[in-house]
Amino acid sequence: MISFGPTEEQAVARDALREFAVKAMRPIARECDEASAIPDSFLQSAWELGLTSTQLPEAFGGAGEARSPVTNALVLEELAYGDASLALAAVAPSLFANAVLDHGTDAQRKALLPLFCGERFHAASLALVEPSPAFDVLGMRTAAEPKGDGFVLSGRKSFVPLGDRASHFLVVARGGVGFGFEALDAFIVPRDAHGLAVSEVEKNLGLRALATTTLTLDRVEVPGSARLGGERGIDARRLVNASRVALAAVLTGLARAVTEYAIPYAKDRVAFGEAIAKRQAIAFALAEMRIETDAMRHLVWKAASQLEHGTDATKAAQLARDYAAEECMKIADNGVQVLGGHGFIREHPVEMWYRNARTLGVLEGTVTL
């Protein structure tokens, strides 16, 4: 049945996160961006919301709530409305934990999921993106060769969130032959694995507060049990789809932040004797921002709902991500323009959102549902 109505529980979660975004994220977003660092106290307070553990099974210490990509999309939009860097940092452990939950063997779940159900923030991360021009997930170069009962991993991964502190990485690599999702595998690699080098924190255009690193895998040997999902491997298509929809949800939250910031500014700012919002050139730009933010959200919801039903979400996920990336960039661009010179100076958050929009729009695998 087609419905745009969140459940009561979803509405409660969304409202709680909206409040968290305004009270705990917005006030520190700028200083985190300037310092290229996020205080542990923030990660801990986000942890205490149960972002990662709520949907993990009780057997491993989680709250055992149903795994819901739709709920997660609602949550992500709110967190990104607060700040995209902080949002990605807060949910980075979920990337790892959800992948283990969705694709891992019982033994892998038992060994790893309890790490994410403790009282203290625990960092682990997904390593998907590679530092090659026009990176395409289907054309990745990191390879896994079988050796004895295990595998040897070689390649480079970049934009690995929380790479500075993650205890484990989930490294996506080409295991089999061929050129498709079926050829992809994921391997659990502990931080201290022999041959794994973790770079200094990367310096990026946007999402500066989020510590991302590059991993160099120089013939890293892992046992057979490190292959996520064991013999059957992973459903890489689902993993990538979930990541694309999640990214689109983050872009939606960011677009809403820009729109809701530009509206009161335009009503406040006077030129030629009246508020600039009373000029159609500005008013129509604001209307367009609202139209497209709604559109982005609906595409996210549709794709998330397909993930929730377990149907093939490949098309919906790609449409949602591509559309969100393009429209969020336009919205952030318009946001800067509406604020004029004030959109360019760092006193307002809009220039930061402009940088974040461009950065988010080219990512994969920094967030998942």
Partner: protein, 390 residues
């Protein structure tokens, strides 16, 4: 629960609509090239098809809501053709106005007539408050004088809801709507317009010369002139909240036909539109097509969202305009883009794509242009009145 899966009953209905639409499509070119002809009320093939609307019976609360379904069914019909229907239903835009503003007695009296709506004049389109047509009370009769253009289904309609002012000095507050039946002396259909597209749809021009109608034909029956801004005019305009998403759905059905045709043609040429790879793994043609598909999805979801709000008795003023604005711009870009992708083949009248390109262009114009919708959206999100944001 947020959900986008159709139930079996939903699918059965939409499949039935599509089956009829494909038959209607076989008549599309004929009525496009023979603008003086009217499609029949019922196609000869109709006897072989069950009544789709009878399928509404037996639906439950677990099925998709009626408003959302009617948007999908509208798009399903125009996916076949803009104007040709297996069976033409009664009712026009004027019937929506009658339902929204008529007294119970008026509704009972005129409900069975197909009613057009006449607002636009040679000198006023997007600004209906500038209506020049006059209605003067003379005893127990209103005397109408003026001219109306762009009246959709104005030739076929059996009556019309027409806007006229009872007091020009009162501005928009003086505007009332009146019901005039065909055949009333002084009411003449002067001609049928020749158009870029939607040619099988009749668009009429009217002239009223000392046309006398009963006093009771004032829709809603209220002869008083409300104070400026007291909402009388706004009430009339509310009719459009119900119809705007539907207009977008009409255009989107046509746009979907264009996308389907383009996808099939590409496939025949050995180009499959596949999903999953990033930018590096795809050709420019495929990327362009995917962008058009995303636009279609985004616009259709805006329409469904607005209808869903209406199904749940939630306010949808902003969302109805979002649906219309987004739909209007999306269908233009989609049909223009499909022609660009297919190249010279696409402009041949051997195929319907060039017709769809012409047919959808009206979507962003009638029932409030894209600019008017953006004005409404902007006023809503800024909290401005129509006086504050012009």
């Amino acid at each position: 629960m947020i959900d986008f899966q159709l139930t079996q009953k939903d699918r059965d209905m939409l499949d039935a609509v599509r089956r009829e639409a494909l038959v209607a499509r076989t008549y599309a070119r004929f009525y496009d090239e023979n603008e003086h002809e009217f499609p029949p009320d019922q196609l000869p093939e109709a006897k072989d098809f069950p009544n789709v609307f009878a399928m509404f019976a037996g639906r439950t609360a677990d099925d998709t809501g009626m408003g959302v379904m009617s948007m999908l069914m509208t798009a399903g019909q125009t996916w076949g053709d803009y104007s040709v229907r297996m069976k033409r239903g009664k009712g026009g835009l004027g019937n929506a106005a009658l339902r929204a503003a008529g007294t119970p007695a008026q509704q009972q009296k005129w409900n069975d007539l197909t009613l057009a709506m006449a607002i636009t004049e040679p000198g006023c389109g997007s600004d209906p408050s500038a209506v020049q047509m006059t209605a003067v009370l003379d005893g127990e009769e209103w005397v109408l004088n003026g001219e109306k253009i762009f009246v959709t289904t104005g030739c076929r309609a059996e009556g019309v809801v027409v806007w006229a002012t009872i007091d020009k000095s009162a501005g928009r507050a003086g505007i009332k709507s009146f019901l005039v039946e065909k055949g009333t002396p002084g009411f003449v259909v002067t001609h049928k317009e020749k158009k870029l597209g939607i040619r099988a749809d009749d668009t009429a021009a009217y002239v009223f010369t000392d046309c006398r109608i009963p006093r009771a034909n004032l829709l809603g029956g209220d002869e008083t002139i409300p104070k400026q801004g007291s909402g009388g005019f706004r009430g009339v305009m509310k009719t459009f909240n119900m119809t705007r998403p539907g207009v977008a759905a009409i255009g989107l059905g046509i746009a979907e036909a264009a996308l389907d045709f383009t996808r099939d043609q590409l496939r025949e040429a050995g180009i499959d539109v596949e999903y999953g790879a990033g930018i590096a793994g795809q050709t420019a043609v495929v990327r362009r097509f995917q962008r058009l598909e995303a636009l279609f999805e985004a616009a259709m979801l805006s329409v469904l969202h607005s209808a869903w709000l209406s199904d749940h008795a939630k306010p949808n003023n902003t969302e109805a305009s979002i649906a219309k604005a987004k739909g209007g711009s999306a269908v233009r870009e989609i049909t223009q883009g499909c022609i660009e992708i297919l190249g010279p083949l696409a402009v041949s009248r051997e195929h319907l794509l060039e017709k769809w390109f012409r047919d959808v262009r009206i979507t962003d114009i009638y029932e409030g242009t894209g600019q008017i919708q953006r004005l409404i959206i902007a006023r809503d999100i800024l909290g401005y009145s129509s006086a504050e944001l012009k």
